[in-house]
Amino acid sequence: MVSPILLIAVPLILAFSVPLWGLIHKKLEKFVPLIAFGFNTYLIFRLLPFALTERTISVVIANIKPPFGINLAVGPFGLFFALIIQLVALATAFYLLSYDPPEPSDKFYMLFILLVLGSTGMVLTGDIFNLFVFLEITSISAYALTAITKTGPAAEAGFKYLLLGSLGSTLVLLGIALIYGSLGTLNMAHIAHRISGMDSRLVVAAAILFIVGFGVEAEMLPLNGWVPDAYQAAPIPVVALLSGAVAKAGLYALARVLYTLIGMPNIIMLLLTFGILTMFAGELAALRQNDIRRLLAYSSIGQMGMIMLAFGAFGVNSVFGGVLQAFTHGITKALLFLVLGVMALHTGGATDMESLRGFGRKFPYWSMLFAVGVLSTLGLPPFAGFWSKLALIIGVIIDGHPTYAALALIATFIEVFYFARLLSVIYSSKLSPKLVERSIRNTTIPLLSATFLAAIIIAVGLYPNVFFDLGDSASRALLNRAHYIFSIIGHYLQSMGGV
């Protein structure tokens, strides 16, 4: 097996080498993210067969075995999320080839790689403090990338994100402090093993702090004020990553902490309520939104709420649906944002509905890609979204929460409404006067990258087997807490004489 550490190490080296590449030739900088994520994707695919098993392995760093030292806990659940992040990152990195980055470009690429690296680290680490560190890497690069265009709105969005994000991560740190103070360990498996001995009030306090802290990244209801603003003001490739990588990593952290560390069904089931609320808030806010970027941002909140709902149902079927939905949502939203970026090129940057009226008449292929994304989001076949939504709803009902499933379905009516309206605007026969014949820039590369994502959506939709298998082992791995503990610190527990 290839070492998963490379997933973090190689991009890290490449990230900081960006300025060096820039010294050779300015244009070479563009290729660094592509190289990094291409390599990472290759690694992920090498690791995929492993993700189909239910095992979690610990990858030891500096030869200190867990629970001591820092380690990666690479399991199917983490790898599944790493896969989402890498696919989105790869497509986005490819998209970057034809993208004029905001200056300073080397910093942009560096932060870009760091963002992906941070979220990859979050989903792979086995150490809770490392989780915090990676969270900070992710979020600091995200703040910077949001504000990087240095316009007023960008700075404003970045600041909002920063306020919420940094407060959230401080709370995470506080939670870690509580746990460490009680248990004296930072290894997640070890914490999970010992948490039953901890004062339950402290556990609850830590759980609250984690929910709030990771909830910011996971776009949970009252913590997601930054989402629409950041999605609206950040550069398009960054937005694709915000929904495809950052939100997913936050979700992963939330699930990992609640399921593996805390492991209390009652607390996990709080996610049901907050998932539903998040979903309704997102969908309702999107209903009357005229700016497509913000609309997609709200829709993203809605989708994340749905996934949280699935994770909150605390059952293997619904978690299965949840991870599948996380996958399709990541890919689909990235696709929609990339296409929207190109659409904006044809309207002089405007992304409101009226400016894009009739886009489909002039640019059928682009609108087709957009329609694929929309239809997949709506859960229609033969796209990936169909399977994930189906699995999610049926899973939540089978796991015994029909009321929540019904509420989720009601929320999707709203979703259908605004997406149908969006499609009818895009395919309108009346043309917006803002539409130009031809983009100022060559759009072949964005086309390929969007096609890549659309192809994933369609391929998964037509042939969901592998997808199901991955999701199945991921969901089982998440729920099998004892197995996780045993895989990571089994030898240690044995040496201590107790299992």
Partner: protein
């Protein structure tokens, strides 16, 4: 009250106080700079808390520069891990603060104000 308990009260009390002061600032003050200060307060509170967790009354720093320390570090020195964590957290905190200040400058540049309730170009 024995000094150990008193020490705990002081450490934990002051960290909670720092946290609450910070919270008050970020909830009440409108100025961006003050908000950033508030964040820093909160962070310091948490850091202090983290350090005080690892501190054991009467022990020394976990720097193995004395022979008796080298022999039985776990008896004489405090837990080194929280200190390492705090070091990291401080670094991160500095980075965040720097970033926040930079963005605040940018905002002032573009909007001409630091009042957070007036920075509402993006909404709804």
């Amino acid at each position: 009250m024995n000094p150990e308990a008193l020490g705990k009260v002081i450490f934990y009390g002051s960290s909670i106080a720092l946290f609450l002061i910070g919270l008050y600032i970020i909830l009440v003050k409108r100025n961006l700079i003050k908000l950033i200060l508030g964040l820093t307060f909160i962070e310091s509170g948490v850091n202090l808390f983290l350090v005080s967790i690892g501190y054991v009354w009467g022990r020394t720093a976990p720097i193995l520069n004395k022979p008796e320390l080298m022999e039985t570090p776990s008896k004489l020195a405090v837990d080194p891990v929280p200190q390492a964590l705090v070091l990291t957290a401080i670094v991160i905190g500095v980075a965040v603060t720097a970033m926040a200040l930079a963005i605040a400058m940018l905002i002032y540049d573009k909007y001409g104000t630091l009042n957070i309730s007036k920075i509402k170009e993006l909404k709804w």
